[in-house]
């Protein structure tokens, strides 16, 4: 399958200037997204995945946050230097987002119809009646029963799962090239989560949308994504195809994470593996491997210098001093 690059993030750095110090929320993140791919960004709270997400579309609140370095290229064009008009053309139209809590991303005072139709009219230049028809179609596609009637309802009249479906309908209504889903199912029950993930999978395959799926749930990424980036303390510590990440992970954090998650299909009533310690504070974080206090393989060099990226072939890269000087990229 030929790969067509549509999104490239290069060395993105987003810092927040707070009273307590400089928070390096995203500290040099790079990855590529190709057409039709589903990329998973995995990390725990505080690793910077949501901030990175918002940075891509320049949605960072500008004091106190600032994109300090790096760039985001959409089809080769720099998003960070685009004009406001061009950016608006991008948001919601070519690149859409859905969030964890649909209650806060849907305006509780507006009917669903208003919100859907507005998006369509704005970006696709449809007339109101055409837009409404398309909106009903989208709702049917995401599995909302009797969409012609439900479209007139308000967000609070839907359940959590239904609201998330509406979000997906809204996000996909303009047929975007990229769908960014930030923890879309974390707040949902497991059976509803299965439904929603199924919808996302079906639709994005049908519409050939590329997906960036951000989550902390390793189970979700293993079922949904082709490739994965593992984030820790604002950096990507490992990136690889999904199979490689689970079968052949290189970074101690990735390994530790996979080992510490209890699995449904394996019985262990003994102690779980657990990574000791806690994630670091991102305030004034020093220039070293952020994982070293918790790493069982920590060496002296880990404490003073951030490891260079090692390429393991097949687009599998990790940043760890265990892999030293050999196989260095660039």
């Amino acid at each position: 399958m030929e790969k067509q690059e549509i999104l490239r993030i290069e060395n993105l750095k987003t810092y927040f200037n707070t009273d307590d110090g400089m928070v390096k929320a995203v500290d040099g993140v790079s990855f590529i997204l190709n057409r039709g791919e589903t990329l998973g960004i995995v990390g725990e709270s505080g690793c910077g995945k949501s901030v990175m997400n918002l940075s891509v579309m320049r949605l960072i609140p500008s004091p106190p946050g600032k994109i300090m370095d790096g760039d985001v290229f959409f089809h080769g064009k720099s998003v960070l230097s685009m004009s406001e008009d061009a950016l608006r053309e991008l948001r919601g139209n070519k690149i859409s987002m859905i969030f964890q809590d649909p209650m806060t991303s849907l305006n509780p005072f507006l009917r669903i119809s208003t919100q859907l139709v507005e998006t369509l009219c704005l970006h696709q230049g449809l007339s109101r009646s055409e837009a409404r028809e398309k909106a009903v179609q989208m709702l049917r596609l995401v599995g909302i029963p009797t969409p012609e009637k439900r479209i007139a309802a308000y967000p609070h009249q839907f359940s959590g799962g239904m609201r998330q479906r509406v979000m997906i309908a809204m996000a996909l209504s303009c047929n975007p090239e990229i769908l960014i889903a930030d923890e879309p199912t974390t707040a949902l029950d497991v059976t509803i989560q299965a439904q929603i993930l199924e919808i996302i999978k079906d639709l994005t395959v049908k519409l050939k949308t590329a997906v960036i799926l951000i989550t902390h749930d390793l189970g979700v990424v293993s079922g949904m994504c082709n490739k994965i980036c593992v984030m820790y303390a604002g950096r990507i510590v490992e990136r690889a195809s999904t199979d490689d990440v689970f079968r052949n992970s290189k970074h101690p954090y990735t390994r530790g994470l996979i080992r510490s998650v209890p699995r449904l299909d394996k019985t262990t009533r003994e102690r779980l593996y657990s990574i000791p310690g806690t994630p670091p504070s991102l305030i004034n974080i020093p220039e070293c491997c952020p994982f070293h206090p918790r790493c069982e393989h920590a060496m002296d060099v880990c404490r003073v210098k951030y490891p260079d990226e090692t390429d393991f072939g097949n687009e599998h890269k990790a940043c760890c001093w265990l892999y030293g000087d050999s196989n260095r990229t660039g």
């Binding site: 439904q195 510490s260 009533r269």
Partner: protein, 339 residues
Amino acid sequence: METQIVLDNDILLDVRNLKVHFPIEEGVLLRKVVGTIRAVDGIDFEIRKGETLGLVGESGCGKSTTARAIAQLYEPTAGEIYLEGKDLCKLNREDLLKARMHMQMIFQDPYASLNPRMTIGDTIAEPLEIYRGRGFLQVSSSDIRKRVEDLLEKVGLSRYFVNRFPHEFSGGQKQRIGIARALALNPKLILADEPVSALDVSIQSQILNLLHDLQEEFGLTYLFIAHDLAVIRHISTRVAVMYLGVIVEIAESAELYRDPLHPYTRALLSAVPIPDPQVERTRKRIILEGDVPSPDRERHGCYFYDRCSQKMDVCQTNIPHLAQVKPDHRVACFLYFNP
């Protein structure tokens, strides 16, 4: 009405036909009861000494309400809760206080379960202070202080944290403080209401290990509530699956995961994502239709009828009750027995 039953020395907690209904009121001036939320609608189960019963289900199934009803934070609408042979619902204030010494709770939200204006030392010491004040404990202030420090170390925190406030700690540490508080009175039973759901993955395993170690060291019995089936599988000896306020299946842990019988249990298990791409690719998912319903109607048939892919006529008109179909495996479904 007897408040004591014949003791089977092995059984620590015996819940019989527990119901917790909340009235829905409407109206501005004159509040009228227009319906009930049947959060818990008749459940029976027992927990033996030293074991961990996992209570699992989705939102609205009644698992948290069950825990709170056992803790007597809610008044049960019906049913009996026998802790070491005494029915908690019938005890007077004094006896209930005595009973509480043996039954403590760990809460889900580490941020909300600690009083932000009390030092953690005071928070952990509080149960001891209360019981000393009532005369149930003969301890001195310095005894209490020492015990608090010991407890802190037991849960993996430094004893020098005694005078700090909750906001100075991370989520995982706060949860450890909550655990220390629950252990203060040396209880026999601990009701753990989603103790790891609000924590990061790497911290989750630490806390689960801690709970495991404490159980071994102190011979604790757990009622462990969670919605994460993998976590439940890991920590429980037996598992009960709840749906809409009733238990639909209850079995020994490995048995449940090996051979789930109830259609809901099957759907639930198949919906859980497994962190293994190969397994994920090859599994067959059962996707349930519709939403998780709300427990606001009285039911005359199986509670799972609307979403069940294997429903039969008889399921609509009769309510299946838990019946034993295999050793240590009970299920409430007409697929396995006749009404």
